[in-house]
Symmetry: none
Subunit: 131 residues, 4 copies
């Protein structure tokens, strides 16, 4: 499970971790039932305070994204297909809307904006494959 922290971004560390784990679950890169690393392990890898990771897990558990099995560990919770789809769509619409609004503010035409989007889509898609 790849998680990257940018300590200069202004976004709180715990938020960055939550967002990335949630995104991993929604896009099924972290499948149902998969075990999450222990608090200590993840904290060590990310070089953050264990308390921060602990907070992250509590948050995600509260959200219903993960489930704690006492004495065993944390696992990705079961999500209904529809719920997952909803979450996916919501996440995607949110970010695409922001992009569209920015394009409008900058004064791009719909055609130019769509071209730019497609170009960046292709670029990052092929990069993704080779990775």
């Amino acid at each position: 499970m790849l998680i990257e922290i940018d300590s200069h971004s202004g976004v709180p560390i715990y938020r960055q971790i939550i967002d990335q784990i949630r995104s991993h679950v929604i896009t099924a890169r972290l499948g149902e039932g998969a075990q999450l690393p222990s608090v200590r392990d993840l904290a060590g890898r990310l070089k953050v305070n264990p308390m921060t990771v602990s907070k992250v897990y509590s948050y995600l558990e509260n959200e219903g994204v993960v489930e704690r099995k006492r004495g065993i560990g944390l696992f990705v919770a079961k999500i209904s297909k529809t719920k997952q789809d909803k979450a996916k769509t919501a996440m995607l619409e949110d970010i695409i809307k922001k992009a569209a609004v920015t394009a409008i503010e900058v004064g791009l035409s719909e055609k130019d904006a769509a071209n730019m989007f497609s170009k960046l889509f292709r670029q990052n898609n092929s990069e993704g494959r080779t990775k």
Copy 2:
């Protein structure tokens, strides 16, 4: 100059104002040399503390977006056309790339993603016109 503050968004007030003014300047809704409202005026209108606005202006001056004329007021700084274009493009590419990457992660095809983007573009564009 329209500035809106959402006090529930979690984003600090001064950041919200900075972002909106900067966006106004980049998109040339606030043209070069235009005078900004006085600290007290803007503070009064937005119902925030003058010092908050003062902080905003200091920040923007530091960024080179506005220029102070002592005892007279604040004005939109002269930005070279190319520099402005660069800033615009960078801002736009950044957000569109994020959107594209998310679409890829979610597993959308290029065509579906582009359609979604165009749809949201049209929606927000017409909203903008009626405002």
Copy 3:
């Protein structure tokens, strides 16, 4: 870390602190990675308002001189050796040039001016040692 404030100098307190800390960093009296005193601590020692110190730190962070680690504290940022040397040289050349120009305007010969410079160098250097 020694910082002295002259409240009668006309120079704003926050500027005095900024200049002194920056100078400490550039001259490596405050080495890379060194932790700076907390806002409250420094404010207490200098007998100024915490917000004044906070402003100082924000300013220095913006300049890239220090780095914030959330909830932990402030640390001297990593500056590349060359960058640091450049900053040093630029700072020095600037002030020495001013001195030389003034000497020229006043009508001193190169020899007399150089003597005066050396004399003042020695005077202030020995003072520095005893301090």
Copy 4:
């Protein structure tokens, strides 16, 4: 009489003008009895508020550097040779001391610092001649 204003320097405009006129007088580029431009004239040339120039003149008059002749204009006051020399030396020592202290802080040896000073002296001196 050459006066240059740098509106980005942070030094108040009126201070910049005062310092430059005083320096002109001390170094005798503006000799005793020379007439200064009228408030309106200087304000127009420097593109500053006439009140600012007026303040400058009052300040200099108060300092004894210039003398007002009612209905005629402002003139450089008579200064005793010793007084002028003292002022010259004070001005020079002040700036050279600053340069020396900076050189010390940066860690230069006396020799290196003196060399740098001499080099900049020669550079600016020859430039001055051709001007």
